[in-house]
């Protein structure tokens, strides 16, 4: 076995290796090229203001994508997040409407807790009862959405019912950057640490990579799954509050269908539905690509009727380009292994 192992080592010594190790290379280049293209068509694209807007509008997506990533890594999926966002957003908004004095941080906390509770329900169904995640979350998506309509009784909570401080959460800035951006950055850092430098973080990968061996090496799978869905729920709940605060309005149909966008961001970023693999950097890129699309398409002043078509086309193109580049890299590996 010396033979193969040795040149495996050589690969790592190769200066290009680091470069190649970043698996979403293709996606990265794709985004760069896309940006250049858009910039040529509308110069106001890469202005500081627009970039900030883009970042602000993408923050929520990023936060959710982080959660979805760990769910997907455990071979799961969560279709209910859109509904959870709506539910926690609505409840928090109603709370604020009832007593405007309530502290914004408390709001964030409450929203997160509501979401986490929703997540725990899923966690129990998946981890303890053993339902397939896609079924459990599909069903709970309906239930949470229905509950949102019930508690709101068809009414919206409007901006005039919301306190300054509450709306501030998502509109205020710190060091010139919108709070949302800071929150997203914070979560990225936390997740990076969590996934790479804590035992639990690695166990999430382990469970997704090979459940059987996770079992024999004494990892409590149930616990991990429960944790993962609770985190996802918590993040959704948090984003519910951010969402409502950002748009200064809570509706029953808030964020309906948003789960697909989040999942798309993850898979674009190279998270495998089959579980076990997924890197934060990739997911970030995936979210950024979608963020760019949402921001750039209106700027391109193409007919609004073309927007969907273009968006779908670009997403497909992105994943395909990424796949092709990956293959190229693999092949160069082989070439060098053959020596």
């Amino acid at each position: 076995m010396k033979i193969k192992t040795e040149n495996l080592e050589m690969e790592k010594k190769n200066p290009l290796a680091l470069f190649y190790q970043f698996r979403e290379l293709g996606l990265f280049f794709f985004i760069v090229i896309l940006c250049i293209g858009v910039q040529l068509r509308n110069p106001s694209f890469l202005t500081g203001e627009n970039i900030l807007d883009m970042a602000t509008n993408t923050s929520i997506l990023v936060i959710l994508a982080l959660g979805m990533m760990i769910v997907l890594i455990t071979r799961g999926i969560d279709l209910s997040i859109g509904a959870v966002i709506a539910l926690s957003g609505m409840l928090t908004a109603q709370l604020v409407a009832a007593n405007p004095s309530v502290n914004p941080f408390l709001c964030l906390l409450i929203g997160t807790v509501i979401g986490a509770l929703c997540g725990m329900v899923i966690g129990v169904l998946v981890a303890k009862v053993g339902l397939l995640p896609i079924i459990a979350t599909l069903a709970l998506m309906n239930i949470f959405r229905g509950l949102t309509f019930l508690v709101s009784d068809g009414e919206w909570v409007s901006s005039y019912q919301m306190s300054e401080s509450f709306v501030e959460i998502a509109t205020g800035t710190f060091l010139g950057l919108n709070h949302l951006i800071w929150i997203a950055v914070l979560f990225c850092l936390v997740f990076f640490y969590f996934l790479n430098y804590t035992r639990t973080g690695r166990q999430i990968y382990a469970v997704g990579s090979n459940p059987q061996s996770a079992a024999v090496s004494g990892i409590k799978q149930g616990r991990i799954l429960f944790l993962v869905y609770t985190i996802m729920g918590g993040l959704s709940g948090l984003c519910g509050v951010l969402w409502v605060s950002k748009f200064a309005s809570a509706q029953g149909d808030t964020a309906s269908g948003y789960e697909l966008t989040v999942i798309a961001a993850c898979i674009l970023g190279g998270v495998s539905i089959a579980g076990g693999s997924g890197k934060l950097a990739g997911v970030l890129l995936g979210a950024i690509l979608l963020g760019i699309l949402n921001n750039a398409l209106p700027l391109l002043n193409v007919s609004p009727f073309w927007q969907n078509g273009i968006q779908g086309f670009i997403i497909l193109l992105a994943v395909i380009v990424n796949a092709v580049v990956k293959r190229r890299v693999e092949r160069t590996h082989l070439l060098r292994r053959a020596g």
Partner: protein, 334 residues
């Protein structure tokens, strides 16, 4: 294994199973049948308009159109894949059909054929992308095409609606044959056909094999890619059929029809006992599940229950029906 190991002495293998009540009754379909009966009783209890032939008959026309897609969707799920682009495929094929008839002025028959072709091509594209780029999961591919296909529909019709079809076209959505809705007949025929294909033919066997272990299937000489492409094409084709019925029911079409169909369809298949983990599923179960959800919806509609309540009830039903057997199993193991 009580026989002693006599490797060289020829041993015989039993070729017919002893009859077992357990095997007969411990089947998902019975559970579903019970639920269906419960739904019907409930319906007749809550609404005087529910449990009579015309009502039940016309009830089917309300939900069966999208149910046509559930058969290929079941196959796809059995193969551990998923197709969330079917809703958009319905919209695109419908829009193509309508435009060819109204704008291009082609005869309706041609338009219908074009509609079917469109659907099949959409499915074909899904299938090809999925087998050519294995590293992309079906989810992301069909998610992309979901947006793309509807996008094309928007490009074609923009903010317009297209309609004014010939009289006879209304027959698909509203017509009866011997007092039975044409849609219901088509559904029944498809159910039988897919039942046979999936459970009695080599093709069906291959579908299950792929869902069970793709690698081993390939090593056993099954053309996995070919089978996949065909099944995804079927999904597209059936989406087009649905488009015909839906368009006929609405008498006109728009790019935004059939939104969110995919989730309803997946829910039906799942309730029908098709495992998204692959390898399991029966057409009979799926058919019963379709009627459960359909009639539940219809019955609750007759007592004018809020739509949100309906969302909750279907969600709960889905969870309970899947969870109860599992819980039962857990208790047994205890």
């Amino acid at each position: 294994m009580e026989q002693k190991k006599q490797t060289y002495q020829p041993r015989t293998l039993e070729t017919n199973l002893p009859f077992s009540w357990k095997r007969l009754f411990f089947q998902w379909e019975w559970m579903l049948l019970l639920i269906l009966v419960a739904v019907l009783l409930l319906g007749s209890y809550v609404s005087p308009y529910f449990l009579n032939y015309p009502s039940l008959r016309d009830g089917t026309m309300v939900f069966l159109d999208k149910a046509l897609i559930v058969f290929p969707m079941a196959m796809i799920m059995i193969m551990r894949d998923i197709d969330i682009s079917v809703g958009s495929t319905v919209a695109l094929s419908s829009v193509v059909m309508a435009t060819l008839y109204t704008s291009a002025g082609l005869p309706m028959e041609v338009a219908i054929i074009a509609c079917l072709a469109t659907g099949a091509i959409c499915g074909l594209i899904n299938g090809l992308l999925i087998v050519k780029f294995k590293e992309l999961s079906a989810v992301i591919v069909t998610l992309g095409t979901m947006i793309l296909y509807r996008g094309i529909a928007y490009i074609i019709l923009e903010d317009q609606a297209a309609g004014g079809f010939p009289e006879w076209f209304g027959f698909f959505g509203w017509g009866y044959v011997f007092g039975i809705p044409f849609l219901l007949i088509v559904f029944a025929v498809l159910a039988v056909v897919f039942g046979i294909v999936l459970h009695k033919t080599t093709f069906g066997r291959k579908v299950f094999a792929i869902g069970n272990n793709p690698t081993a299937s390939r090593f056993s000489g099954i053309k996995v890619d070919k089978v996949k492409v065909i099944v995804f094409m079927l999904a597209g084709l059936l989406a087009a059929v649905t488009a015909i019925f839906l368009t006929s029911r609405m008498g006109s079409t728009r790019p935004n029809i059939a939104t969110m169909y995919e989730l309803d369809i997946i829910a039906m298949a799942a309730l029908g006992g098709v495992s998204t983990a692959g390898g399991k599923g029966r057409v009979l179960g799926v058919v019963i599940a379709v009627f459960i959800i359909g009639y539940l919806q219809y019955g609750l509609g007759l007592i004018n229950l809020p739509s949100q309540m309906f969302l909750i009830i279907v969600g709960a039903l889905l969870i309970l029906s899947v969870a109860i057997p599992k819980l039962g199993g857990m208790i047994k193991r205890k």
